[in-house]
Amino acid sequence: MLVLAVCAHLLIMAGSSLRYTPVGPPLREYTRPFEQALGMHQTWPMFGNPPRTTTWLVMHGVDADGPVELPQLLDPPDFDGVIWRYQRRHKFVRNALSDKRKYLRAAVVRWYCRQAKAQGHDLHQVVFDKVVVRTPGPYKGDADRHGWREKRETIEAWNCKR
């Protein structure tokens, strides 16, 4: 039994890590369900493509009286503070920033709308702003990042289901 489990583990590992070689895909056809079930895919980018910006999302709402502030899912990066602990919402927001994961932003909208409804607030719309601070290249920046150029743009506005 142990030998079988170990062989299965090795095959799953091989199928996933060799997926960009001719060997991987045919093997992965069989091993992928197990790889997905256990969540053990061999993808290790680890800053393979390092970020060249600091990017975050700012959400605000619109009700009958106009724009309203919403509690933020994740506080903007604190340029003067320290990150003491890793927050799961940090990973979620990073995922939600991706163009191909619009469905995550839709889920955030539903969450805001549900919360507003529960509090008796008639929220009409949730607006997503993307804030990007571009990192200046080596030797090209100011040591104080408060002076770095910040670009804020509205990327989407979603209506609450009424």
């Binding site: 997905q36 969540g39 680890m46 970020p51 799961r88 080596p138």
Partner: protein, 304 residues
């Protein structure tokens, strides 16, 4: 003895030779401590990501997560049920930590991790995945053979204590580390920022990851900072690509382990990337001479 027999015997020794059970018990204990740390910190975010009307609502998970068939947690759980289950998870991890019912509890713990992974799939990172993989690998060994409540009960019953385990799990952990570092090393070697030595500069400049950007920014913008990050970029590349070959040879293994500990400690203090560093360093336990010690050698040491 024929060459085939000799080869098979060597493979058998390489994978199944008995080693001291105590280092594996240390692996169990340290894994549980790391896992408890990570698990407890899920607490403040349970309402946001795990309850029925959280961001991970049933609509999101059912429509956009291809693996819902593996969901072991109902998506309709109320806040109370989720917090209770979370507390149950703490209990399970404590049982595993103290080695009570280890042979059953280890599977329950992995089941719990897999279930939570599928319930809120967009909040996990590579460190969580690595911890899950280590948890799965620990199922392949008797980590509760010593330094556990199980061992204590067996002793009280007068059963013969088990003092060795097969070296298999050590080999699997080492292989996982090699795959991970080689994968990322090759990936990075093809990217221009790593080739030109600026990758660490860029990574440390993202205030979303940087532990204290106000502390590191002034250094990053100096000549020393640029040189240092360049050096660290190439050090990382060499380490990751060289890790596999380096651990094959006994003499270079300590160097690989020391370099890895230095790298992950550096990352831990400069970047907030969750459990990745501690999880990686946890795996190095399988490479330590103490962990690979044969029982004869352990006995000799005890007699000295």
């Amino acid at each position: 003895m024929s060459a085939v027999h000799r080869t098979l015997a060597a493979v058998d020794r390489f994978l199944f030779a008995p080693v001291d059970a105590r280092p594996v018990a240390v692996m169990r204990i340290t894994w549980c401590l790391l896992m408890l740390w990570s698990w407890v910190w899920l607490g403040p975010e349970l309402d946001t990501f795990f309850v029925a009307d959280s961001i991970h609502d049933p609509r999101l998970v059912e429509r956009h997560w291809k693996n819902t068939s593996y969901l072991a947690i109902s998506m309709d759980w109320s806040a109370g049920s989720v917090h209770l289950a979370h507390l149950g998870g703490v209990g399970l991890l404590l049982l595993y930590l103290f080695g009570f019912g280890t042979d059953v509890v280890k599977f329950l713990v992995v089941g719990m991790l897999v279930a939570t992974y599928h319930r809120a799939p967009w909040i996990w990172n590579g460190g969580d995945r690595l911890m899950r993989i280590w948890g799965i690998l620990l199922c392949f060994t008797s980590s509760g053979a010593v330094w556990s409540v199980d061992a204590w009960i067996k002793q009280k019953l007068g059963w013969k204590p088990r003092t060795t385990v097969p070296v298999l799990v050590h080999r699997l952990i080492a292989l996982q580390l090699v795959v991970m570092y080689t994968y990322t090393g090759i990936d990075k070697a093809l990217v221009s920022y790593w080739q030109e030595g600026t990758a660490v500069y860029w990574a440390m400049s993202d205030a979303g990851y940087s532990r204290a950007s106000w502390l590191y920014d002034p250094l990053l913008q100096t000549t020393v900072g640029v040189w240092l990050t360049g050096l660290l970029t190439y050090f990382t590349l060499v380490f990751e690509l060289g890790f596999g070959p380096a651990i094959l040879w006994k003499r270079t293994r300590p160097l690989a382990v020391a370099a890895g500990v230095a790298l992950h400690t550096g990352i831990f203090f400069t970047l907030s990337v969750g459990m990745f560093g501690p999880a990686s360093v946890w795996g190095y336990q399988a490479l330590l001479p103490w962990a690979l010690r044969r029982p004869e050698a352990a006995d000799d040491a005890a007699e000295e």
